[in-house]
Amino acid sequence: MIEYSYIIAFLPLLSYALIVFFFSKSNKMASGVAITAVLTSFVLSTIVLFEVLADHGPHIFEYEWISMPGLELPLSIYIDPLAAVMLMVVTIVSSCVHIYSIGYMHGDPRFPRFFSFLSLFTFSMLGLVISGTFFATFIFWELVGLTSYLLIGFWFEKKVAADAGKKAFITTKIGDLGFLAGLLILYAAAGTLNYEDIYHLIEHHQIPVIILSAAGILLFCGAVGKSAQFPLHVWLPDAMEGPTPVSALIHAATMVAAGVYLTARIMSIIVVSESAAITIAYIGGFTALMAASIGLVQNDIKRVLAYSTVSQLGYMILALGCGGYTAGTFHLMTHAFFKALLFLGAGSVIHAAHTNDIQEMGGLAKKMPITSKTFFIASLSIAGIFPLSGFWSKDEIFLSILEEGHIGLLILAIVVAGMTAFYMFRLCFLTFTGEPRNKEKYEHAHESPNTMTYPLIFLAILAVCAGWVGIPWLHHGYASFVYHHHPHHPHPNYMLMLIGTIVAVGGIYLAYLMYYKRSIDPVAMGARFKGIYTFLFNKWWFDELYMGTVIRFVYWFMEVLYRFDQGVIDWFVNFVGRFGLFNARFWQTFDVYVIDGAVNGAGIVTRWFAGGLRKIQTGAVQNYAFVVFLGVVLFILFRFM
């Protein structure tokens, strides 16, 4: 099967083509085809996973694409344990989201198109996962960006949605510049972009470390864009304008994790290059803290989750930067499940309550038992409560940071864990418990249909159990399957587990006091720390900062250049033209007045003389006679004197 793993990716593409060309009018057929395709992919991925479990590989299959002197760009498939795990994650989450969307998108006039885009996304994402060269990764990387753009802007009649799509595309594209530059550097240095060849060259020290550092950091720029890390994180919260299943699939579980996936793929570089590793770790750590702090005070249910996603992605990046290949990818997997669950749960709430604002919700647990229970499970998981999956992966991350010796980053990570627990339970309590704050919306709320709740239940099971494959005591668990170079079995550090749990419980307890028991008034707290509150509420003013600097500069600069184009270059061209015309006029004048003037002048002078002379012909005969007489007299005088 493994040599045909491209089929896994191409099935959704086939589904996309079928929907676009044949089923663009039929809701049933469109969703049917898309779900069949993704479920088949899921089954095939399972088979591949088992094959990889038997033989870790990597299994590489190469296809010629461009081949000319000085440029060899093959495409290849590279299936190693990480890819196999990612295939599972993507197909599982994608299947759940597909099924969920039947209910969520019910009645939307562009229902078939939605499913076609979902299929296209699944294709791109699976392609990205199985790519065996940085080049192919880049191709699919851009394609997932496109589908993300299309899906964020799915309800493009809303200006905010259209804006958000554009913002997402361009912001990630800025990161992709780095990716592209990194590719160029790598290609110039190594002459190939195949993972395997590059890993080989790095291991044999064929590429100077300085070049590797540059390439590594530049490639990581791509991850910064796609995984919404500081400073390019601003697009992800806005992307929540898209339909909620899209947020779950693309902007929580899979596409944004692509950055983490890419970072894992350059682990060889991170291991060699100290500077790249430090950069990655600190960017991840800072992002985790910043996003979590913003998440504390947001009121839009999806935005809180979005900031939580940014923060958790920061975690993974942090782990990878510390060399925690296993930890980072493990968290990637567990996070995919519980975050998808959280988003789908949030979608279910929004579907029922018709609002995103948690201040308008409250008490929904009674109306929506399944949604609220699964949401609580996911929240417990992300908070890192024993024995849910989040606990194990978070613990792995702490351990990998500790092993690398970054105590500062470790403390930061623990603080973030507490903040995570707090804002997640703030969200839970405000949404599901207490008195309904908007009676009208509460009355209309109802549990979602089965197509939406079944995926929730399925994901809830995964949110609980998926982490068990990585329990440290397990000998043939996750760590001995997905690893860099050689399996890494950290000794379970009970101290860290304890600290993590205490911090998480503390966060939950604080949220409980503030938003359930109401023994601490959140409004009063907000008023007391007004400066910090405003700062966080306005998301550290990143959007305003970018708006005021980069975007303003671009708009200003484009006007300047356009003016320059019209006023200088085109002016010069027109000037040459006008100068030619001026010359023409000048010489025309010269011709008319000087050259032709000379010709006419001769005539004019003659006439002028004649006009004077003819006056002497008076017509009076005596005048003539007198002149004759005078002539005779003069003749005589001159002749004879």
Partner: protein
């Protein structure tokens, strides 16, 4: 192949023009279908040409040679290699599609199609002429119908645009003519055969090369157009009727880069190396500058026109690199830009026919009203911003890789050029958003979807965009040997 296919390709449109001129000028439908038929024959011939072309060698193929004016050494010399075959194919296809797209012309139909066919004669001729005299004749033959096509069937400022185009290009041609004459008298025995002159390139002195290269370069650069010779382009594009814009962007601009590849570089290799950095620098400026200026445009067609400046900058960057990958990237970009921008102009024309305005701000949310049109437009928009899977990406990537690995130009030029990628995304998405997305502007309540004929003109282009983007191997195989040969000549 004994069949003189190139001669047929050149003279069938001429025959078509004569036939069209003999028709009754009121018989509009007959005139339209007759000219479409003749251009379709050329298109079929170009397909046959592609099918019979052997890409494994840099040799000139389909060569035809006959004495013409023996006393001056002028011959009727035609031939094609990997540089010209893709361009001939592009010309055949775009001419046919443009003629179909011009079916809605109602004013002076007969003259219009006659001029169009004459234009095709010139275009095909330029791409297969191998004698300077012949080359120059075809080069000039193109100008005249173009002048009238813009000047008669154009927009409000058509006279200005037509004259600007004509004079600007003529200025370039004059410099080129000077170069040709210089070459003619420099060589002994005098010859005007391009392959012959290339074979003797070692005889040219260094200074001579530098000067004549510059003369040819300006002639070609105006056509490309290279910054800062580009300002005729937006005016000509905006004023020209849709189909003429397509030809202008799709084929005429390519003649500049074609000339550089066919003539300038192989003939003056040392000058090519000397000018590598300036050429790449001009490319870089065009990429960034064109993108910024596009972003500032308020007129849809002008935006596409300026995007051409930016896109042709990639060609120049690839040429400046003097590597096979860079040249191939340039070649790909020529083909891809021809397809993409041709399609963009067709689409803008479709919208203009319905809305009678091209002002971006006048639209908004029309994606909901005409989804098919929007889908196709976004496809080409994505191609133009270099989305993988579409042709633009392949060419950009090849140019970048070729330029980055080049020993002739500095790395920073490439790094700055890469910024163009995000700027392109910026202006394309901004335009897409302001025209198609957002709240629906009820002014366009009765906007209609594309009709069959309009779809017929863009679907082939869409297929090619995707095909080249997904599977570039056929085109790569076609051009590699010839380009490698050129690069070898230049870099020794």
């Amino acid at each position: 192949m004994d069949f003189p296919i190139l001669t047929y390709m050149i003279f069938i449109p001429l025959a078509g023009m004569i036939v069209v001129m003999l028709l009754n000028k009121e018989a509009h439908t007959l005139i339209r279908y007759t000219s479409a038929f003749f251009s379709f024959v050329v298109f079929i011939l170009s397909c046959i040409l592609v099918a019979n072309f052997d890409g494994s060698t840099a040799q000139l193929q389909f060569v035809e040679r006959a004495d013409w004016i023996p006393s001056l050494g002028i011959t009727y010399y035609l031939g094609a290699d990997g540089i010209s075959v893709p361009m001939l194919f592009l010309t055949g296809m775009l001419s046919f599609l443009s003629i179909v797209a011009s079916f809605n012309i109602t004013n002076r139909v007969k003259e219009y199609f006659a001029f169009f066919l004459l234009l095709e004669v010139g275009m095909v001729g330029v791409f297969c002429a191998l004698d300077f005299f012949l080359f120059y004749i075809f080069w000039e033959v193109m100008l005249v119908p173009m002048y009238f096509l813009i000047g008669i069937w154009g927009g409000p400022r058509k006279e200005y645009a037509a004259i600007k185009f004509f004079l600007y290009t003529l200025f370039g041609s004059v410099l080129m003519l000077v170069g040709i004459i210089a070459l003619y008298f420099y060589t002994d025995p005098h010859t005007l055969s391009i392959p012959e002159l290339i074979a003797r390139n070692s005889m040219y002195g260094y200074t001579f090369q530098l000067i004549v290269f510059a003369a040819f370069f300006i002639g070609f650069a105006i056509k490309v157009p290279v910054w800062p010779f580009h300002t005729w382009l937006p005016d000509a594009h905006v004023e020209a009727p849709t189909a003429v814009s397509v030809i202008l962007a799709g084929v005429l601009l390519k003649m500049g880069t074609y000339g550089l590849m066919r003539i300038s570089y192989p003939m003056f290799p040392e000058a090519g190396v000397y000018y590598a950095t300036p050429v790449a620098l001009l490319g870089m400026i065009a990429i960034i500058y064109g993108a910024f200026v596009s972003m500032a445009q308020k007129d849809l067609k002008k935006l596409v026109a300026y995007s051409s400046v930016s896109h042709m900058g990639y060609c120049m960057l690839g040429l400046g690199a003097l590597t096979t990958a860079g040249f191939a990237g340039c070649m790909f970009q020529m083909f891809s830009h021809g397809v993409l921008t041709g399609a963009m102009f067709l689409l803008v024309g479709v919208l203009y026919d319905r809305a009678h305005t091209r002002e971006i701000a006048a639209f908004g949310g029309i994606g909901a009203k005409i989804p098919l049109y929007t889908g196709i437009f976004i496809l080409f928009g994505m191609g133009s911003l270099g989305l993988p899977g579409l042709s633009g990406f392949v060419s950009e990537f090849m140019v970048f890789i070729g330029a980055f690995g080049s020993e002739y130009i500095a790395t920073w030029i490439v790094v700055v050029s890469i910024l163009g990628v995000v700027l392109t995304a910026g202006y394309i998405l901004r335009m897409v958003q302001r025209v198609f997305l957002g709240p629906f502007n009820t002014r366009w309540e009765d906007l209609t979807e594309m009709n069959g004929r309009e779809l017929f003109t863009v679907i082939p282009l869409a297929i090619f965009t995707i095909f080249i983007g997904v599977y570039p191997k056929p085109l790569v195989d076609m051009i590699t040997a010839s380009l490698d040969n050129v690069v070898r000549i230049v870099t020794g």
